[in-house]
Amino acid sequence: MSIYTTNEMMTVAAARRLPDGAVCFVGIGLPSTAANLARLTSAPNVVLIYESGPIGAKPTVLPLSIGDGELAETADTVVSTPEIFRYWLQGGRVDVGFLGAAQIDRFANLNTTVIGPYDAPKTRLPGAGGAPEIAGSAKEVFIIMRQSKRAFDDKLDFVTSVGHMDGGEARQRAGLPGKGPQVVVTDLCVMEPDPVTRELTVVSIHPGISREQITEATGWPIKFAANVVETPMPQVAELETLRALQARTDAAHGKQEGSES
């Protein structure tokens, strides 16, 4: 069982980072997949909050939309969307905000709005959703996204959601309550912000991936930490759980691509 996809590696690596018992505000798509895999493997007591209102959702299949009925049925309680954003996120109750994005820069600022000029975009993306305030208020932010030169771009056309701004203590000086992005997991590697400069730095490389591939897939000269390790391969149990989850999801919804909300 050493054969696995890069997506599977990414999802497993992201899931492993979620501490057991963490309260996790989950975006739809890759973050939701990773968070639910964590719940089914290493973090059985993780509390999943979706912006539509469910708190403590334990879905047996992955939600297709952010407000799937199963999220409500399996939740500890379902509150209104204003309450989710006011009492739970802004109230400081969220340990980890789990986000995806279309683009990220070297300080983990995120773009989900436009590629190109705002008024005449080359690509119009869905927009902000819950991300700006998740990025601001969650105690920590985890990011999961596939790596490419286009996605890892040091000159974002639009910053939708704040990362470490222009680095260093900028975020703290701006008065943002949360600590910001603490890890970025891609299909190639795991990055963390440098403790001083806050520049994203590769700390772990997935098996079979070279430094050159990572450099090639990054829109700026990506730095590597002093002690880069190899990401442990997905374990049999992790892969089986993830594949069973995907199979249940496909059976329930029909196969389709995921997208963030």
Partner: protein, 287 residues
């Protein structure tokens, strides 16, 4: 006091050209039947407000009903883009749509402010985001006690809010449950409220602290079974994920979209008619 009437009467009597209209429902209970009826009656110049435009506003925008949109996430959930929204914003078809983008937290707070009779909301948001640069209605104030910088946003105060709910009783009291989104706030922020419901019952069998809209805040209740389709109604039917997927192809192309609107909405009498024709076209597609 809630008038129990047909959706046609409610839309014709209560929604006027130029109105600010919010049709809410967060994935769950999206009032698609009401959206169709607005298209059918050819309403124009609507200022639309909705957190997630979804298919309901993609249809209204493509059909030329809207001149502006205040929103916070404009995609087809789990599928991709809203092509009619993009075509209106990017190419001005069928005419230019002015957009005002916010975040979810902002919109949720703006509805709360509207429901609370306040002109604006305060939130901890937007710091480090470019959104305030492209939306000058997002501003910042200093806390009068701590000096902290906080964001503000203008309240949403629609002329009319439209929602779908599971049940109403014969007096027009409305009950909804499951994922509630911002529907209560959207309803209470508005001057008038239309509620389409799955069922009209003799008595709402609601727990003590259920989400209820009393009849005297509701202008009209319309009995429209399956009125949230292709969205879902908890306890009644599931989301039609297949249609959300199929919409991508329909909406990608102006001609396909126009033909779909003509056949399914303009050429049908009401939502029952839509459901019948929709079933036919589903069958054709799978044949």
């Amino acid at each position: 006091m809630a008038d129990i009437c047909s959706l046609r009467e409610a839309v014709s009597g209560l929604i006027h050209d130029g109105d600010t209209v919010a049709m809410e429902g967060f994935t769950h209970l999206i009032p698609h039947a009401a959206g169709h009826e607005v298209i059918r009656q050819g309403k124009r110049d609507l200022a639309l407000v909705r957190m997630t435009p979804d298919l309901i506003y993609d249809q209204l925008i493509g059909a030329g009903c809207a001149t502006s949109l205040r929103f916070s996430w404009g995609g087809n959930p789990g599928v991709g883009s809203l092509h009619r929204l993009r075509d209106a914003v990017e190419k001005g078809w069928p005419h230019k749509l002015a957009i005002r983008e916010h975040s979810h937290a902002d919109m949720a707070n703006a509805y709360v402010a509207g429901a609370s009779g306040l002109p604006f909301a305060v939130l901890r948001g937007y710091i480090g985001s470019d959104l305030p640069k492209v939306n000058d209605s997002i501003r910042f104030i200093d806390c009068p006690y701590t000096g902290e910088k906080l964001a503000t946003t203008p309240a949403v105060r629609p002329d009319i809010t439209v929602i779908h709910a599971q049940q109403a009783d014969r007096q027009g009291n409305v009950l909804l449950w499951g994922i509630l989104g911002v529907q209560k706030e959207a309803a209470l922020a508005a001057k008038k409220v239309i509620v389409t419901v799955e069922e009209i019952v003799d008595k709402l069998d609601a727990p003590a602290n259920a989400c209820i809209l009393p009849k005297w805040v509701v202008s009209a209740v319309c009995h429209v079974p399956r009125g949230a389709t292709p969205s879902y109604a908890h306890g009644y039917y599931e989301r039609d994920n297949r249609f959300y997927l199929a919409w991508d192809a329909i909406a990608r192309n102006r001609e396909a979209f126009t033909a779909w609107i003509q056949r399914h909405i303009l050429d049908t009498e009401d939502f029952e008619g839509f459901l019948r024709v929709h079933a036919e076209s589903q069958q054709e597609m799978s044949a």
